[in-house]
Subunit: 131 residues, 2 copies
DNA sequence: CTATTTGCAAACGCTTTGCCTGATT
DNA sequence: AATCAGGCAAAGCGTTTGCAAATAG
């Protein structure tokens, strides 16, 4: 594992700056539009490459959920899931939904919370043994 | 709003059956492969159309995470989010992470939990006023 | 210098859609 | 007959990648 050197190009620097100065959790395209005001000929590919790199560097975070494709669940009831970070399997958790947390957050914040989902991450039994 | 009638075709029926008999939270493609064993000339498009319809009917649930594109966050620290179901805005919640929940789930289940994320859904202040 | 990064455009991969034929009521 | 669903293939769309030229250190 060789450590790579990262240059702080003006593109990278400005992308990070734009992201640090907003709280709207923008899409790549929105960021692209903002950066274009300063660096008109930047390409979308560069934006994507830098967002990915900045996330790897721990400077920002990405709010997708890992895989690119959807998963389907024969159980239509809301319930919690556990995703193994090693093998990507998704399991149902047999623990009950927290009934009160929505109300609690509604009281503590200006948001009216109607539902929530919790995703746990870690190692499934099989992968705990493999490592 | 007119209510549509849904016929229970053999394709739809078998897709639902496959999904009900597994707990692996499969992808559309995996479902397609399973159904093909029974209905060899079914098309992927039909699988997608039915999965979407079954979800609308409340028979199954889809584990994608809403929008098709990623959102980026200038804050690399893990924290909770609130998504407005009306305007799709994403907000940071100023509440602290629950430090103990990972251990609690690790104790109660066979999974080794290393982290979790919680997404709350409901109405943001602006949209509460609009409705 | 030279390894990294960029712009451009083409490719990717999952999902959706249009169109027409076939099935159901 | 009228409506709903399916098969097929093309289109869609956000994202990734290959490549030659540019550039940071």
């Amino acid at each position: 594992m060789k450590k790579k050197k990262h240059r702080m190009t003006k593109q990278r620097k400005y992308i990070l700056e734009v992201l640090r100065q907003t709280t709207i959790h923008p899409t790549a395209d929105w960021i692209y539009e903002q950066v274009r005001k300063e660096i008109p000929n930047i390409s979308l590919g560069t934006v994507y490459r830098n967002l990915k790199l900045l996330a790897e560097m721990g400077e920002i975070s990405i709010l997708d959920y890992g895989s690119s494709y959807s998963r389907f669940d024969g159980n239509p009831e809301n319930h919690y899931h556990f995703t193994c970070t090693e093998c990507d399997s998704v399991f149902d958790l047999g623990i009950p939904m927290d009934e009160f947390i929505d109300k609690e957050i509604s009281n503590k914040t200006p948001f009216l919370v109607e539902s929530h989902r919790i995703e746990f991450y870690g190692l499934c039994p099989d992968c705990q043994n493999k490592i």
